[in-house]
Symmetry: C2
Subunit: 345 residues, 2 copies
């Protein structure tokens, strides 16, 4: 087992959490609805923090819950935590061990807040501080770079969103995720060929907005930790408030741009970047105009709703990072200076 196999396991892990956790998640949702939290406070690091970015948009849009991404050092190092009033506090961690994340849940419990953990390690120190726990059922992940635990954490978040809203139509849409993941995994050879072209890339920008802001962050993180490429994620709005100055002719830009509400905004920026700034563009999309815009494109499933798209669109991005790592001759299983479990204070 290794990184490549774990990327390919994601259709099954999505199916497994759908089957094994729905009942638990419905129960948790009923409990949360009873508590009627005004707001959500979420602590995570690395890939789990990117799952948190997805939750930020998803629960904001579909559950009308404002989501705050925690500043763990206020809890751990400064020991000056904010007052959390009528707040659901969530810790996301594959290992359930990082002391900074644990310190946020400990304080939340201290303040009497309801607590939830989303983890691949039931029974971990984090779990012991949680009123409720969602096991993401991803199985052992051996590669240092997280892949299946990321999509499974997003599945947990999406399931809880549907359960909180008691939204059967979205539950039905969610049942198609394993199929859509299987579909994008069939782009394997295309992605391997596209990655070759980027063999000598040293830096790039990854654009995404709204739900797929998270995908831009996670794709960037995979390219940093596996390919040692300085990859910077931006929303199409933030990018225009300064960082756009970076790009010159041929500068590599990746865009996560499936059909949806934010596509028009992203399209405007991509056209400007292609026509005026002459960047090199790689897109992930299911929109024909986007797919024909840049030098390279990876096709996403046609009928996938935007709110679900981050769970599917990260998969070809992971494959791209995998093949680029191979093309550059680096070790896909052991990125330099990283361990599987990172514990920070």
């Amino acid at each position: 087992m290794g990184l490549y196999e774990e990327i390919f396991e994601q259709a099954q892990t999505a199916q497994r959490i759908l089957e094994e956790q729905r009942e638990n998640i419905e129960t948790i949702a009923a409990n949360i609805r009873e508590r009627q939290p005004d707001t959500v406070f979420l602590a995570a690091r690395g890939t789990s923090d990117n799952a948190g970015r997805y939750i930020n948009y998803l629960w904001g849009a579909y559950n009308r819950l404002p989501v705050t991404l925690a500043t763990p050092s206020l809890f751990s190092i400064y020991q000056r935590p904010p007052r959390l009033h009528n707040t659901l506090v969530i810790g996301i961690s594959q290992s359930g061990k990082s002391p900074d994340i644990v310190s946020v849940l400990a304080e939340a419990r201290n303040q009497g807040c309801p607590t939830l953990t989303i983890t691949n390690a039931p029974g971990s120190p984090l779990s012991q501080l949680a009123d409720w726990e969602i096991d993401i059922c991803a199985g052992v992940e051996t590669a240092v770079a997280a892949t299946k635990t990321y999509s499974a954490s997003m599945m947990a978040a999406a399931m809880l969103s549907c359960a909180l809203a008691q939204d059967e139509a979205r539950w039905e849409q969610l049942s198609h995720v394993p199929g859509w993941i299987t579909e994008v995994l069939r782009r394997d050879e295309t992605i391997a060929r596209i990655a070759e072209r980027y063999r000598f890339m040293e830096q790039c920008v990854v654009l995404g907005r709204g739900f797929n802001y998270a995908t831009a962050f996670e794709w960037s993180l995979k390219m940093k930790e596996l390919c040692y490429v300085m990859a910077d994620p931006y929303s199409s709005a933030d990018f225009q408030h300064g960082p756009i100055a970076l790009v010159e002719q041929g500068f590599p830009v990746m865009a996560v741009a499936p059909k949806g509400e934010v596509l028009a905004d992203l399209m405007g920026l991509m056209e400007l970047l292609c026509e005026e700034r002459k960047v090199e563009l790689l897109t992930l999309s299911n929109d024909d105009d986007v797919l024909s815009l840049g030098q390279s494109a990876i096709q996403l499933p046609a009928d996938m709703p935007e709110w679900i798209s981050p769970i599917v669109s990260i998969v070809p991005a992971q494959l791209f990072a995998y093949y680029l790592t191979v093309a550059k001759g680096f070790d896909t299983e052991a990125p330099r200076g990283l361990k599987k479990v990172t514990e920070t204070v």
Copy 2:
């Protein structure tokens, strides 16, 4: 007038807001205390968003208010805003014009939330949606890269923190900011010399944690928009959850590391980076051990409390970006592809 002069104006702008806005800010604080908000929701872009990152730590630590950085697209494009319960909503914008930020304040008002704007353009569209307004009194800023409006926005936030907490001791500390800025501006020649060394740098990492997480972001943004250097900001914790794989021998790392609660954590990471990974380190600090750790160092005022340090420590970072722009032969006043006022949806 230009970028260099505006950097040098910052001792005066800090003094001006202290003198001209204290009464207004005390009144606003009394009004906010009366409303007793449970939480703060903050919308901003670019440099103003980095001022928001400072507020996130400062008000969390000293006013016990959890601060949520807004996802403006939920308000503007998706039109699916979260429910903001008993929340103070703040818009920070030099120009007070960006439609996405305006849409957040419009919805906040619609939901009956108290609203505040921090701006350099009183009477702007944003101001018209705010119950209260703080004029940052920075005067006309002509350079595209924001400098004095950043330190002045942070001053506004720091003054409001003191006023909310009715904390005379911190008001007294704040009165020293103009003097500390004057002190760091005297490092001008040293900084010019240090910047030379980085003439051929194309990418770097900027580390900061806690209060100075904001400084790492803003220093990075200046290097991106002025020097076209791919500069990535990280907290010392986030950096270890993946991106640390990027660094190899000689990789340039900047660290904002004044004395304070987070220094031990940052010091541990800097030592590892220097000893094991052999990076090239530039530090901003007032700690002797930190100052002697890397290849280059810029000295910060000795007696500056950590909570205030971001307002002072950004100044030498701005000067560094200015001199690096000059060394690279770029235009300090007109970064490519940027306008002074950026409007995004």
